[in-house]
Subunit: 212 residues, 4 copies
């Protein structure tokens, strides 16, 4: 059909590619977020449990609920920003595909550090658990920085992407890795504070979306 | 391309955003609904089981099946209504994104209270299990109310959304939180009745879709 | 925008609805098919295992592999036919939404009977396990029949749907429930034969798609 | 509507079919990739664990992390190439549907050999575990070869698909099965080397995408 216009045809193909990249990423984000529930365990008892024993056991699992909510919103907000960044991109080249692949690897693994925190917060092993958790988000935020760097190149940006928007987004994202590093350094001494910093961060980035 | 028409271009962007919001929400709904199966456990035996022992064990798991069916249809019907509401929306602003995020958090966690009911219905701990279940759906229905409130604002509604339709939908949805509260108050005394009220509710909202 | 043409607008809305129904169904089919892998357990040993002990244990799990392959292709072929049927449908009404909901409930639960067969095929409890499996597919095929009946009504069919195609599809699908019933009746006496009938059936429907 | 142009209408239908095939495949790829995380187990201890005991236990799980990363990128790169190949296809016929089905079966099962390697790498049973893993990827690469063979037929190729591109893709893909066979033959003697070959292969195919 378009054999006489190979360039125009290639353009269409790569735009199609961006759509499939976004759809695939959406899938991984949505599945990772939903698999978090598998880390909340149904309490078990030796012998028959009374109703108040079950209620007690459910309440004692608060670290599981806290870890799930923190991870859920961190990933959800990252999905929103992933979406804001890719909206400015015209086509996905190999560089972007790979950086996105590393980000998806980290996103898909989020249920693991979440489960570790859920099991060990409130025990003597909390420092190690929270260090793993915060350190893991250092990795995620570095990947997100690489994605932003890869997306905001002239060769892949949409021609009508606003330079002001790009500058504003860059400015707000760079804070991620250092602040998660602070959380990681805090975790061995004040494990719960590290989770608090992670919570403060997703609320900050959530507020950020108001201006996008 | 559209540098001369930034407003028109932005319109397109936000419409695209609604599509991705719906696709992401669909993903979470579909995964949550399918993960329910993981709560049904294969019966295990000490030593080798006879065929009739396995059949007995499978039948004794009826609370698992009841809990799965109730949760499956409640989430499925909520998906249909989520769809009916968002069909009237022209663009997704930050407010809508967040309210939708809270709803998705609850939807993704549905397998957990379902598993608790599956394990403890028919045991002395049934009151606590069913209170958790019905109370959880109070939370879901409050989130859905917030979504409806956020979607039916002039700034995000589609220009051709019928006011009569909006009034009718509002009228049918507000009953959710109080009726789930009744179920929650019933659960400590008549656990099975609470599940019955939850079942009656999804059948009611299913019937409601007939008029949409 | 389209306030002057409410009818045309509604048309567009309902067509959009069919797309979202298909996308949601695709999600449940894809997730159910992929969750089957969770039923294959990594062999565990008391003490350290030798390489040949692990190889032996992996080979002894053949019922798991057989059950996975049978369920995978049965669901995959049903997805293809779900797709062939819905391609002929112009709009999704409430009737179709519900019948499709029942089908999705069964599809999402497929990993459970598959896991039961995987664990008990080759044990004295195989008759009960295979009866559950084949009986479950009676339920699925009845739902599929209801879907076909609901889709092939004048009110929802696309205007250009060929009557010859519809007749041919109806003819090939009605065999499902009785043949799965035969498999169910066979299972208590010849459990492996019941799985064989289920395998023969997906191969038959797979061959059927050649003419669509 | 298109009753006067049945041929053109059928064309549209089959193009639609390709889209749904891609979307369904994307779903299976995305879910399989995300389920890999379920194979990483949270360490458990008898009695209360200290922080350093948890840190130790987490580090000792390195085979789990290695297996996850290898499988994640192998599947991700295969998804990219699946996408590159299907972009050249105009319509999905039954042959392509089935070959794609076999590929999806293998993709959906990837978490199983990954979990086996995660548990037995670094134990005396590593040879059996790595032979299973590499042998499994022989199967996957054979399926991918069949997909390429099925996609690059005149009857389904897009009219503007470049013959040079097709030749180049064919040339780079055929190396898959023999190289995975080498890895499989290596595994009984040098299990870790087999995983190394698998890693080298996904890096090679990743580099390949640079030219597509």
């Amino acid at each position: 059909m378009a054999t006489a216009e190979p360039a125009a045809n290639r353009e269409t193909s790569t735009e199609h590619e961006t759509t499939r990249l976004e759809a695939f990423s959406d899938g991984v984000f949505a599945i990772a977020i939903t698999l978090l529930v598998l880390e909340i365990k149904v309490p078990h008892f030796e012998g028959t449990a009374t109703s108040s024993a079950l209620a007690d056991a459910l309440l004692k699992q608060w670290p599981s609920y806290l870890a799930l909510v923190t991870s859920f919103f961190t990933v959800l907000i990252m999905w929103v920003h992933h979406h804001i960044v890719l909206r400015l991109v015209r086509r996905a080249d190999v560089n972007l595909l790979f950086v996105n692949g590393f980000l998806l690897l980290f996103i898909s693994v989020v249920p693991f550090p979440t489960a570790v925190v859920a099991e060990y917060l409130g025990t003597p092993a909390a420092p190690a658990a929270c260090t793993l958790y915060a350190g893991f988000f250092v990795g995620i935020s570095v990947c997100f920085q690489l994605l932003v760097g890869s997306a905001f190149r002239e060769t892949v940006l949409a021609p009508d992407a606003s330079h002001a928007t790009i500058r504003r987004l860059r400015r707000s994202y760079w804070a991620g890795p250092p602040l998660y590093l602070v959380a990681t350094a805090t975790a061995p001494f004040f494990p719960l504070a590290a989770i608090g910093i992670c919570t403060a961060l997703w609320i900050f980035w959530a507020a950020m979306t108001r201006e996008c």
